[in-house]
C-alpha cells in the first residue's frame, strides 16, 4: 500500500480474522486532504459475512433426575384417646323478665249517657240537629310551646301529680284530637290549636287559672274541658259562678259548644233556688256571685243533709278577679263551697298587684301562694297552675289593634272651671291635713275628671268636639263604633248630643231584659252604628266584633278594665283592624293617671315574664296625694277598680 492512500484498520481486518471486541476506528492522515484535493470516488464497499450462531453447551448439574423423582410425604398417625375429650357446656341462660304492671279502671258512664264510639250515621245526624259538625282533627300545628307529638296535642300530667300510676294515666291517654273524635264531640266552629292546648291544660288539673287575654275564647275552652270530663265520667257535677250580667252569656255559650249537656241556672225565688240546688243529676249549674252570698246558708244546709249540692266535682269561677281580695265576703263564700277541682278564668289576674293572685290562689290552693313572694318569683311559683296567652302570640293573623291617643286641650271654659276646682280642692285637702282621707282625694279626682269631659256650666267639651268629627268619618265609611265612659250621666248626655247617629245605650240603667236586644240591634242593624257603654256594664262578656272603632271617652283607673273594654271589639271573629281612640286632656289629672296606668301594665307583664320588675307596685296613698303635690298620711291603699 502506498503511503498516500488512506489507511484504515478496517482494511487491516480484511486480511485477517475479526477481533470481535475491538472498537472500530478510522485514521485519516492529514496528508489525505492535501494530496487528494480533487474528489476521487471511494472504493466499492467490501461485504463481510458474520456468523451470529451462539454455541451453548449446558452445564451438567445432576438435578434433572431429581425433578422427575416423586415427593415423599412423611405421615405420622397418632390415635386420639376419646376418653380424654372434655365437653364444656356454655350456659346461654334464659333471662328472667321482670315486669311492672299498671291497670286503669275504665271510667264509668258519667252524668251523660255516652254510646259506643263510632261515627254512625245516627251520631252525625244527632250532631247536625244541634248545629254541630263532626270536625275531623288531622295533624294540627301547635303554636307557642305546644305539647304535641307529631302534630297532636297531648294531655300531660301536672307537676303536683307525683304517683306514677296517676302520671301514667295521663301520659297513656290518646291525643286530645282523638279523645274529641272518639267521643263524637262536634263543634260549631273548628277550635284553634291554642284553644285545644288550653283544654289539654285544664283537663288533668285539680287547680288551674286560665288567664288568656280577653277575646281568645276562655269560655269555649272551659266548656270543652268540662264536656270532656263529663263524657269521660271523671266528674258528675259542675258549679259555674260568674257575674250576674254574664249568666245569659254562659247559657248561650253552653248551648253553642255543648248542647247535649243539661245546664241549670240558679235564679228566682228562694224556694225555687232551694229546689234547684238540691235537684240531683244536674251536670252543670250556673250561679252568680251575688246569689252565692244569699244562698250561703242553703249550701251549708246541703252539706249537713248530704244532698247533691253538698259537694261539687268542679267549681269554675268566671272573672275570677272578683275574688282578688282574700278577705272579701265573695272570696270567703266561694272558698266555702265543698269541691274537688277549682278552676279560675280571668283575663286580668293581676289588676293592682301580686296580692290579687294571692286572693285567687286562696280559692284554688289555700296557703300555696304567700303574699310576701316577689313579683319575679311569683311567675316561677305559679307556672304550672296558670296558662296565659296573648293575641299577638297565638293569633298572628288576627287584625291589629291601632291605638290613637287623642291628646286634647281643655276649652277655655273648661280650663277656667278646672283650675278653679283644682285649687279649691287642693286648698281644702291642705286645710284638712291629717284628717284628709283617700275618699276626699277620690272625690276631687272624680270631679276634675268630669270637668275634663264637660264643663258643668256651659257644657263645653273638647272631647265631644273631637268625637263628633271622628264619628262623622266612621259612619260615612260604613263602620260602627263603641264609646266607653265610666259615668252613665255622661253617656246619656252623649246620647242626646249625638242623636243624629241613632246611638244605642248599654249601662246599668238599661233593664237587664233589654240588654240582649240592644246588643243584637247593634250587631245586626246597620242604622245603629253607635253604642254607648259604661265600663261597669259593658266591660265583660260581650261580643261586639261588629265595631271597628272603640272610643275611651274617659279613662279608667285600671288598665285591665280598659283592655277588657277594648277586647269587646278586638276578639276572634273581628273582620278587620280595630282602632282604639283614647282621649287625654293635657295638663290635667288625666295625664298623670295615664302615667300610672302605664306602670301597672309594666307590672302585669313583669309577673308573667318571670323577671324582677319595678319596686313600686300599685298605687300608694302617697301617689294618690301626689297627684296634687300633697303629702299623704302614709301607708298604702287600693285604688277602686
Amino acid at each position: 500500500m502506498a503511503n498516500d492512500e488512506p489507511v484504515t484498520k478496517l482494511e487491516a481486518r480484511r486480511s485477517g480474522p475479526i477481533a470481535p471486541f475491538r472498537a472500530l476506528s478510522f485514521e485519516i492522515p492529514s496528508t489525505f486532504i492535501i494530496r487528494h484535493s480533487s474528489f476521487l470516488p471511494p472504493p466499492p464497499p467490501a461485504v463481510v459475512t458474520l456468523d451470529p450462531t451462539l454455541r451453548v453447551s449446558p452445564l451438567a448439574t445432576g438435578w434433572h433426575r431429581a425433578i422427575h423423582r416423586p415427593i415423599e410425604i412423611p405421615v405420622q398417625t397418632t390415635p386420639i384417646d376419646q376418653h380424654a375429650c372434655r365437653v364444656i357446656s356454655v350456659g346461654i341462660g334464659r333471662p328472667e323478665i321482670a315486669a311492672r304492671s299498671f291497670r286503669f279502671a275504665e271510667p264509668e258512664a258519667g252524668a251523660l249517657k255516652t254510646s259506643e264510639v263510632s261515627k254512625t250515621s245516627e251520631d252525625c245526624l244527632a250532631m247536625k240537629a244541634h248545629g254541630l259538625q263532626p270536625v275531623g282533627f288531622e295533624s294540627t300545628k301547635t303554636s307557642g310551646a305546644g305539647r304535641s307529638i307529631a302534630g297532636q296535642i297531648r294531655i300531660r300530667p301536672p307537676d303536683d301529680v307525683v304517683k306514677l300510676d296517676d302520671r301514667l294515666r295521663y301520659v297513656l291517654q290518646p291525643s286530645l284530637e282523638s279523645l274529641l273524635s272518639s267521643r263524637s264531640l262536634g263543634f260549631p266552629l273548628r277550635p284553634f290549636p291554642y284553644q285545644l292546648e288550653g283544654v289539654a291544660f285544664l283537663y288533668p288539673r285539680q287547680a288551674a287559672i286560665l288567664a288568656d287575654e280577653m277575646g281568645l275564647g276562655k269560655t269555649m275552652q272551659a266548656i270543652t274541658a268540662v264536656r270532656l270530663l263529663l263524657h269521660g265520667g271523671e266528674i258528675r257535677s259542675v258549679l259555674l259562678i260568674c257575674p250576674k250580667p254574664l249568666v245569659s252569656n254562659w247559657r248561650r255559650e253552653f248551648s253553642q259548644w255543648a248542647p247535649e249537656i243539661p245546664v241549670m241556672v240558679i235564679e228566682g225565688a228562694p224556694a225555687r233556688r232551694r229546689w234547684q240546688w238540691q235537684l240531683p243529676s244536674v251536670p252543670v249549674r250556673i250561679a252568680n256571685y251575688e246569689l252565692l252570698h244569699r244562698d250561703g246558708e242553703l249550701l251549708d244546709a246541703c252539706a249537713a243533709n248530704g244532698t247533691p249540692c253538698a259537694r261539687f266535682d268542679l267549681v269554675v269561677l268566671d272573672e275570677a278577679q272578683r275574688i282578688k281580695n282574700a278577705s272579701s265576703i265573695t272570696n270567703q263564700a266561694v272558698r266555702a263551697i265543698p269541691r274537688d277541682r277549682s278552676w279560675a278564668l280571668t283575663g286580668t289576674p293581676v289588676e293592682n298587684g301580686p296580692q290579687d293572685l294571692v286572693g285567687i290562689f286562696e280559692f284554688l290552693a289555700p296557703g300555696f301562694l304567700s303574699p310576701d313572694v316577689k313579683p319575679g318569683r311569683i311567675g316561677r311559683t305559679i307556672r304550672d297552675y296558670v296558662l296565659r296567652r296573648t293575641k299577638e302570640r297565638v293569633l298572628a293573623d288576627l287584625p291589629p289593634r291601632l291605638f290613637c291617643d287623642a291628646e286634647l286641650d281643655l276649652t277655655p271654659q273648661q280650663r277656667e272651671t278646672y283650675e278653679l276646682a283644682r285649687d279649691e280642692g287642693v286648698l281644702r285637702l291642705t286645710e284638712m291635713g291629717q284628717s284628709a282621707t283617700i275618699r276626699h282625694v277620690f272625690e276631687l279626682v272624680l270631679r276634675l275628671k268630669q270637668i275634663c269631659n264637660f264643663d258643668p256650666a256651659t257644657g263645653a267639651s273638647a272631647k265631644l268636639e273631637r268625637l263628633e268629627a271622628d264619628l262623622e268619618e266612621v259612619v260615612q265609611s260604613g263602620r260602627k263604633a263603641i264609646v266607653f265612659s265610666q259615668w252613665v250621666q255622661t253617656l246619656q248626655r252623649l246620647s242626646g248630643v249625638l242623636r243624629r247617629f241613632r246611638p244605642l245605650e248599654y249601662h246599668g240603667r238599661i233593664p237587664a231584659g233589654r240588654r240582649e236586644a240592644v246588643v243584637r240591634r247593634f250587631r245586626e242593624d246597620p242604622s245603629h252604628p253607635l253604642l254607648l257603654i259604661s265600663y261597669g256594664a259593658g266591660g265583660v262578656g260581650l261580643n261586639l266584633q261588629a265595631a271597628g272603632y272603640v272610643f275611651l271617652f274617659d279613662r279608667w283607673w285600671n288598665p285591665a278594665v280598659e283592655d277588657q273594654a277594648i277586647h269587646r271589639a278586638h276578639r276572634i271573629g273581628v273582620a278587620g283592624p280595630v282602632t282604639v281612640v283614647r282621649f287625654l286632656m293635657l295638663d290635667t289629672i288625666e295625664e298623670r293617671i295615664d302615667r300610672i296606668l302605664q306602670q301597672k301594665r309594666d307590672l302585669r307583664d313583669t309577673i308573667f315574664s318571670g323577671v324582677d320588675g319595678p319596686r313600686r307596685l300599685g298605687l300608694t296613698q302617697e301617689e294618690l296625694f301626689g297627684l296634687f303635690d300633697l303629702r299623704g298620711p302614709g301607708g298604702s291603699a287600693n285604688l277602686a277598680a
Binding site: I97, S101, E116, L164, V171, L172, R183
Partner: protein
C-alpha cells in the same frame, strides 16, 4: 303456649321494645279499649343479653329476645285478651309462635317504609316446602319476609308463618282500621316508659 281467658271487652294490644343505649332493652305492652283509652300497661325492667347469648344466637337474638322472651313475659301479664296485637318491631313478630292472637307489624308512621300491598319486605325467596318449616335468617340468604298489606288508613304486615292472620286482623279490626291510627299508641308507650324510668312504683 299460654291461654288467656277470653274477655268480653274489646281491646287492642300494642307491643314494642325500646333500645336504651345505657340500660339495654325495655319492653312495653299497652292494652287499649275501642276508644283508644288505656286499660293496662306493662313494662319490663331493662334487659341486657350476655356475651354468650350475643355470640350463640347471632342474628336470631332479636327475635328470641323480642318475641320469645319479652313479648311472652308481657303478654302473660295481661289480664285482658286483645283482639289483635300490634307491634312496630319486626323482630317482635316472633311472639306469634307463642300466642293464639293475630299479630300485626305496623308499617305506617315512618318506622318502616310502607311497601306496596302484597310485597315482600325482604328479597324475594322461595317459600319453604310444604310441611317443613325452617327458621332461617337473613344472613343465611333466606330471610323471614313479611307479607305487607293495607287495611284502612294503616299499612300492616304479618309473619309468613301466619299468613292467615291477615284475614283475621281485617275481621277483628273492622271499621277501626279506617279511623284508628295504629302507629300512634307506640308514642305513648315510649313516653310511658320514659316516665316509668324517672319514677317508680307499680306492681
Amino acid at each position: 303456649m299460654r291461654t288467656i281467658e277470653p274477655n268480653p271487652s274489646y281491646a287492642l294490644g300494642f307491643l314494642t321494645v325500646l333500645d336504651c343505649a345505657d340500660c339495654g332493652l325495655i319492653g312495653g305492652y299497652l292494652v287499649l279499649n275501642r276508644t283508644g283509652r288505656p286499660l293496662e300497661f306493662h313494662c319490663t325492667v331493662p334487659i341486657k343479653p350476655n356475651r354468650a347469648q350475643q355470640i350463640l344466637y347471632g342474628p336470631t337474638l332479636e327475635p328470641y329476645l323480642f318475641g320469645e322472651q319479652i313479648g311472652q313475659a308481657l303478654l302473660a301479664k295481661g289480664a285482658v285478651e286483645p283482639e289483635v296485637i300490634c307491634t312496630d318491631r319486626p323482630a317482635a313478630l316472633a311472639v306469634r309462635e307463642f300466642v293464639e292472637i293475630p299479630v300485626a307489624l305496623v308499617l305506617s308512621g315512618g318506622i318502616i317504609e310502607a311497601p306496596v300491598d302484597g310485597a315482600y319486605l325482604a328479597n324475594a325467596c322461595p317459600t319453604p316446602a310444604e310441611g317443613v318449616v325452617h327458621r332461617l335468617d337473613a344472613p343465611h340468604g333466606l330471610g323471614p319476609h313479611h307479607l305487607a298489606f293495607r287495611l284502612g288508613r294503616n299499612h300492616l304486615a304479618v309473619s309468613p308463618l301466619a299468613a292467615g292472620d291477615r284475614e283475621l286482623i281485617a275481621n277483628r279490626l273492622g271499621e277501626l282500621a279506617d279511623t284508628f291510627d295504629l302507629a300512634e299508641p307506640f308514642e305513648r308507650i315510649r313516653a310511658a316508659i320514659e316516665e316509668a324510668r324517672r319514677g317508680g312504683g307499680g306492681q
